[in-house]
């Protein structure tokens, strides 16, 4: 491997890592913080991509990517709100049942989108600014991949500020720490739950929008990311933004480097998944385990 290869691997790890982080960010909130297993997270991603398709395609709205990102966030976030209010809230404390129910939601969403939009791949068009390459010495990195890194950074920053610098974030942390106490102090835990869930789902929408512009939009696009996204959250450590970032970067970088060495994307995936499983076995609480003792 020469410098160009390493450059390509680096740019790939950066973008793949950011995509994983962006996908896992929503999960880090719903799964890591709220302890809800949303198996439909991949389908939320897909909904975000289709929302972006509807927004950007000339046959529908014909706007550009910059509009698509916030609209995807809002549309999918609203869907997440409905999901929480109509289904998830009945299932708190039954994580395995949540898993099954949300898998059902995923099936329905996928099929409805399939019936609505058909099975064909939807091409997406980038704004011209993002179409070229930026060259650093011998290494050329597609501008859009850098844009993804920037969007991921922005989302991380927003989540951080929202959690640690707003009064609503304080309420979320209070509810997560001690639901009964928070409720006794006058926090509407219902509202906190549903809004947090909606926000996290909206992030999946952003991820889908960004991902749809990178590849193509298709019905089963979310399913291929969901398992890895869960692995990112577990590998990093539950309830830790740092952990999610580290997990996403590790898995993304691992995938691209092994892929460069082997020259086979799928086998790289197998090896990295195997390594991640081994890592979780060795350190079940994740790389950045929160130092706390819990019963069970």
């Amino acid at each position: 491997m020469n410098a160009t290869d390493w450059g390509a691997a680096l740019s790939n790890s950066l973008s793949l890592g950011s995509i994983l982080i962006l996908t896992a960010l929503g999960l880090a909130i719903t799964f890591g913080v709220m302890r809800v297993i949303n198996m439909a997270h991949g389908e939320m991603l897909m909904l975000g991509a289709y929302a972006a398709y509807v927004v950007t395609d000339p046959a529908y709205l014909g706007l550009n990517l910059y509009w698509a990102i916030p609209i995807s966030f809002l549309v999918v976030g609203f869907f997440g709100y409905l999901l929480e209010v109509c289904l998830i809230r009945f299932l708190y404390g039954r994580p395995l049942d949540t898993l099954l129910a949300t898998w059902g939601v995923g099936l329905i969403v996928q099929q409805v989108v399939l019936l609505q939009f058909g099975t064909d791949l939807k091409p997406m068009h980038l704004p011209e600014v993002l179409q070229g390459h930026l060259t650093f010495g011998e290494v050329a990195i597609p501008t859009y991949r850098l844009f993804i890194v920037a969007i991921t950074g922005l989302c991380l920053l927003l989540v951080y500020l929202w959690f640690y610098r707003t009064s609503f974030g304080l309420k979320i942390r209070a509810v997560v720490q001690n639901r009964a106490m928070a409720s006794a102090l006058g926090i509407s835990t219902r509202r906190v739950d549903s809004l947090t869930f909606a926000f996290a789902t909206g992030l999946a929408g952003v991820a889908g929008c960004v991902l749809g512009h990178l590849y193509t939009v298709k019905v089963d696009m979310g399913a291929s990311y969901i398992v890895e996204a869960f692995m990112v959250v577990i590998l990093g450590g539950m309830g830790q933004l740092t952990g999610t970032v580290a997990g996403g970067t590790l898995i993304g970088a691992g995938n691209s480097v092994v892929e460069k060495v082997l020259g086979n994307t799928q086998m790289a995936k197998v090896i990295v998944l195997g390594l991640v499983i081994a890592a979780i076995m060795i350190r079940p609480s994740g790389l950045f385990a929160s130092k706390e003792r819990t019963y069970d």
Partner: protein, 406 residues
């Protein structure tokens, strides 16, 4: 961040039935009824193979029920063990088919000069890989179809359970493992047949008998009944009692001095072997072996079979497998595009409204009726007329009746 100590499987176990022998009689009747399709669809080339398929899936559902319904371990990767069975027997029947296609006569002799199965020939493999060759003997393949998953599940269980990986972490790790194996199989087309897998398999021939149509149905359903009885013995024993205790409160069982990791490993290994057996029969009945059985969706759908029928009841696993798959066939015949929506609704509906499943729901209803009958006093005139007659109902036992899975 302290999560409340809620049990992962907070659905209460079904109420014990008042009269166990009545339940047993009903179960026996149900098991006999499993053979009815052989009578009604004896010559039907459409329905009989379908029912054979349902019965093989019912064995798989039993395996999931053992670990999820009874022990509270939701494995989303049970398809891995099923898949081992599928591929072991798949290779065997494919090699046999290639053997006959090349015009050779039995007995089969494994060796480097064996005729290549079509998918290996497409990929220009020079000869059948040495580790696949002996599989042409279907007895060996059937043995490995049960043995390999058992060993794999034991190893996986030993590591995960001793590290006390449980709950959703266990589910997600099993799922990731399944995804890794699926990708591996999917991408090694010369050896595995890739996305298509192996098609046009030979019919299963065992001890001089050729299994197809009716005999295949009897073989699969007979195995199902034997598996059911074995599982019933296991779950009704003291061992089974400890499994349900682990499901309901593992910490307490640990505190009582039980090595829960070993109990969980054992039942996981049994379930793995059972899944492998189910896979072996499934592929023999279907005539194709492909990676779709290693798909993540397939493993989750088996869980819903158990959930619909009634988790923690063996009868429920079989009932769910037959009913849901029957619904699948009927819906897919008429409106294939709506089946995923219906299935999704089933997932949601069962979890929300019928967490104990059909069998659990019926048992609960029966318990409610019984309680209602006990609280309502017997009509006075009858008692006044013939005071000497003892009440028809047996008196309530002083000790709570033993919990008994159906």
């Amino acid at each position: 961040m302290t999560s409340p100590a809620t049990p992962l499987n907070s659905v209460p176990s079904p109420q014990p039935a008042r009269s166990p022998w009545l339940c047993d009689a009903f179960v026996a009747l149900f098991l006999v009824a499993l053979f009815l399709p052989a009578y009604f669809f004896a010559g039907d080339r459409y329905w009989l193979p379908l029912f054979t398929r349902y019965m093989a899936l019912a064995i798989f559902a039993l395996s999931v029920d053992l670990i999820w319904g009874y022990t509270g371990l939701l494995s989303l990767g049970q398809g891995l063990y099923f898949g081992l069975g599928v591929y072991a027997v798949g290779y065997s029947l494919k090699l046999q088919q290639a053997w006959h296609a090349a015009g050779r006569t039995t007995p089969y002799v494994p060796g480097p000069d064996m005729p290549l199965p079509d998918f290996m020939a497409y990929c220009r493999l020079p000869h059948v890989p040495a580790w696949i060759q002996p599989l042409i003997d279907v007895r060996l393949a059937l043995f490995l179809a049960v043995f390999l998953p058992t060993v794999a599940a034991t190893l996986f269980g030993l590591v995960t359970f001793r590290l006390r990986i449980k709950g959703v972490f266990f589910s997600l790790v099993t799922q990731a493992l399944l995804l890794a194996v699926f990708t591996l199989v999917d991408n090694n087309q010369p050896i595995t047949g890739g996305r298509v897998g192996m098609t046009y398999l030979n019919k299963l021939e065992l001890f001089g008998a050729k299994f197809q149509m009716l005999s295949m149905y009897y073989l699969v359903t007979g195995t199902l009944v034997v598996a059911f009885l074995g599982c019933a013995l296991l779950t009704r024993s003291k061992f089974g009692r400890i499994l349900t205790a682990i499901r309901d409160n593992e910490n307490r069982v640990l505190a009582l001095g039980y090595n829960t990791a070993m109990y969980k490993t054992f039942i996981f290994a049994v379930a793995g072997g059972l899944a492998g057996l189910a896979g072996a029969l499934y592929v023999a009945a279907m005539g194709t072996a492909g990676p779709d059985r290693l798909d993540i969706a397939f493993s989750i759908e088996v869980v819903i079979l158990v959930a619909v029928g009634g988790r923690g009841t063996l009868l429920g696993a079989i009932l769910g497998a037959v009913l849901v798959n029957l619904a699948n066939t009927l819906t897919s015949d008429a409106y294939p595009q709506y089946w995923p929506i219906l299935l999704g609704a089933l997932f949601i509906g069962v979890v929300l409204f019928l967490p104990e499943g059909i069998v659990g729901g019926v048992l609960k209803l029966a318990a409610r009726v019984r309680r209602w009958r006990e609280t309502v006093p017997e009509p006075v005139p009858v008692a006044a007329k013939e005071p000497a007659l003892p009440p028809l109902d047996l008196p309530a036992p002083a000790v709570a009746p033993e919990p008994k899975g159906v």
